[in-house]
Amino acid sequence: MKIRPALTVLTCAVALALSGCNLVGGSPDPEGSAGQVTVTVALVPDPPGASEFYRQQFDAFEKANPGIAVKVLENPSDQQLNAVELMFQQGNAPDLFRAQDDGMDRMAARGWVAPLDEFVTPDFLARFPKGSMDPATSGLHRDGKLMSLPLVWGPWSTLRVFLYNEDLLKKSGFTAPPKTWSELERMATKITADGQGKSFGYAPTAAKAVAVEMLADTAVPYSVPASGIDLRTGKPATASPGLVEAVELHRRMQAAKVMMPGWESWDGSRAFKEFAAGRLAMYPTPPWHVAEVRKLAPEIKMGITGLPVPDAGRGAYLPLSKSFSPLWSMSAQSKHKAESWKVLDFLSSDAFHSAYYQKFGTLTALEGAWKADAEKNPDQAAILKVAQETMRRAPNPGLASAGGKAITDALAAKPDLKSTDAAFSSIIKNQPFAPAAAKLDQQLQTFLDQTTADLKAKGKTGSAKDLTFAGWDPLKDFTPGG
């Protein structure tokens, strides 16, 4: 056998194979049948059952729009952003993608999000509650342009409710849920003691210290547990008495073995499973847990109320700092923007929102799709009542000014300056939180000073001033400029 021809053939084969690899990764999606356009949607299979739900919905959409096929790409929730970023970098971006809250900003900062203003009509905007799509407060606009569309009801993202098992409370002689933190501690202690290792009075919602942040939102401005900054002064305030006491409350309960053991390694779904199993009597939670509990235990006597407040009285309300949380965005690289808009229009339709509400019990952005039904549903009516009683409009520096946006973005990139880790450490190691909080405040101040100087050096604005809303009273609705 002659070597040269064989070598040539082999080299060609290797080259072809390698180029094939590239072609496989980089080729655009084949179009559907003749004349049909394929719109790719990258989403996450969340909540449980979402995969089937979205497919059914898109099947219905395709039936009504024969020229458009919807291809769904699913990624696990915690990998969605990275996966979509990789798709953009490979030149294989989805036409539409789900990017929630800061995730949308991360995509927009890279120029990957297409403004939707050219497609939006007055009729479309009229679907949403009056005034909620104002560019200054919608939470969906950036630099005055509409960059995203919402899925859930505005208060849904920041609302927190307190769940309690009426039977377990009654067993320990309690007829009503705790109104204050002291009552919570006392009741939880009694219920855990009475439970004798079979049921427990209280547990944080998940590992880390999210429950601390939830309770602290009733004592100090929401920005303190969220970022360490008090928006009334623009200064670090992790050592605020309200936040410190929220941590200390949990530390005491942990040291006294009042809280359900093992919560330190729980994932996000464990609390509602334990509650539904009748082993956990009380816990603070985002409202979506309500429907999950009801699915697992339809007959459970579940009470839904507002979070207990500090013994000295409420210091703050839960924040309504924007009308909506961003969720659905269109790719700036989409070659089928008109068709993609049709899919977005469908995802913002009364029919879709109604179906989503019926399937998952989530209150969605289009109130007309669920309000009448929700008021008749005891669980959802309770959620609506808690929202009305415990939420108030609050300032949002990220929406208020470019400087505020720059500083809040910089803070978001430094999660180690948040109180979460220090609070969790304090609770499980039974160490006082105040010294750690004071240290964090010092680090935060240094970071703010450094960031301000860096922004100035780059010719950009952004300082503590942009984080200051001196007239804001966290016990009242915030009015911009008021």
């Binding site: 070598l7 990275n82 953009f88 053991p261 093992g262 330190e264 390694s265 999660p415 180690d416 190691k429």
Partner: protein, 321 residues
């Protein structure tokens, strides 16, 4: 029948042409050709990412587009000054120590036992011990969490029922027990593969050597000490390196069981790097910093491996039987 073959006379050329011997490259051309796919894949998926991570570690880069913001050694300084990095490094190192000082000797003892011809059902035992190796780590994570649950988990129920403890043990939720628990699970999960290494090593011991030792009157222990161990020592060095490398890079088990918690008590360098490179809660991932952490970790691993070299090169003297 015989055939006579007439041998043709070979006529010598008038001017003998010098025989052109193929060069060394030409002689081994096919060997090089067959190496091409390996070199391409190894270069593309191992060498290039290594070189790239060294390069990226000098930039403040979020992984999108080309890195442009050169920060020199700032990322390295931050890594070396990070308490969290060193804590994660010591945890990774603890996984190696557990694998070398617990898993390897235990696996050797069991391998010697399973290599004995008198033991019945040897293959069944080998299979059972190997099962954790092929079990999916995510499934192990779920099962372990259920078994070790302090509120009603099977292990705690047994411990309480037998009176060994009077309070449930919070195996995965306490900063003092989470790491030892993970180390134990890692030893259990990796045990099967180390056992297979040892079994392969033991099967290289020539039977005639063992028979000669037996004829000379050597019992089990003397035969083990003066025949088996000296023969398997060179392979033991390879096993040591493989186990060291594998255990130092433990990632999936930690991700599946504790995600580095509680309070970073089980955080290892790979989860530390993962957090900075891929954590969705970060507004912008820090690929440059994560690359620097990877480079520092790689260099530290290299140094530790080189520190073992003098010990690894030494062979047992054998002694007199």
């Amino acid at each position: 029948m015989t055939t006579t073959v007439e041998r043709r006379a070979v006529r010598a050329p008038d001017h003998p042409r010098p025989v052109r011997r193929p060069g060394r490259f030409r002689r081994h051309l096919w060997s090089y050709v067959f190496l091409i796919p390996l070199v391409l894949l190894f270069g593309g998926f191992t060498i290039w990412p290594m070189i790239a991570s060294w390069w990226y570690s000098f930039f403040d880069w979020d992984g999108v587009g080309s890195p442009t913001e050169w920060v020199g050694l700032a990322n390295f300084r931050e890594v070396l000054q990070s308490e969290a990095f060193w804590r994660a490094f010591w945890h990774s190192f603890a996984f190696s120590l557990a694998a070398i000082f617990v898993e390897m000797p235990l696996a050797l003892v069991l391998a010697i036992l399973l290599n004995s011809s008198w033991l019945r059902f040897r293959n069944l035992y080998r299979l059972v011990l190997f099962l954790p190796v092929v079990a999916t780590t995510a499934v192990i994570g779920i099962v372990i969490a259920i078994l070790l649950d302090p509120a009603g988990g099977l292990v705690n129920r047994i411990l309480l029922d037998t009176g060994l403890v009077d309070q449930p043990v919070n195996f995965l939720g306490s900063t003092s027990t989470a790491l030892p628990t993970l180390l134990s699970i890692d030893v259990w999960k990796g045990f099967g593969i180390t056992l297979i290494y040892w079994l392969a090593a033991l099967q290289t011991v020539p039977k005639d050597l063992q028979e000669a030792a037996a004829i000379d009157g050597a019992g089990f222990w003397r035969s083990l000490r003066f025949v088996t161990l000296p023969v398997v020592t060179p392979i033991a060095i390879v096993i040591l390196l493989l186990v060291f490398q594998r255990s130092l890079n433990t990632f999936d088990l930690v991700r599946a069981v504790t995600e580095g918690g509680p309070d970073y008590a089980t955080d290892v360098v790979p989860t530390y790097i993962y957090r900075y490179a891929f954590d969705p809660s970060l507004q912008a991932p820090r690929y440059g910093f994560a690359s620097a952490a990877g480079v520092v970790f790689g260099l530290l691993t290299l140094v530790i491996t080189l520190l073992q070299a003098p010990f690894l090169g030494r062979r047992p003297s054998g002694g007199k039987a």
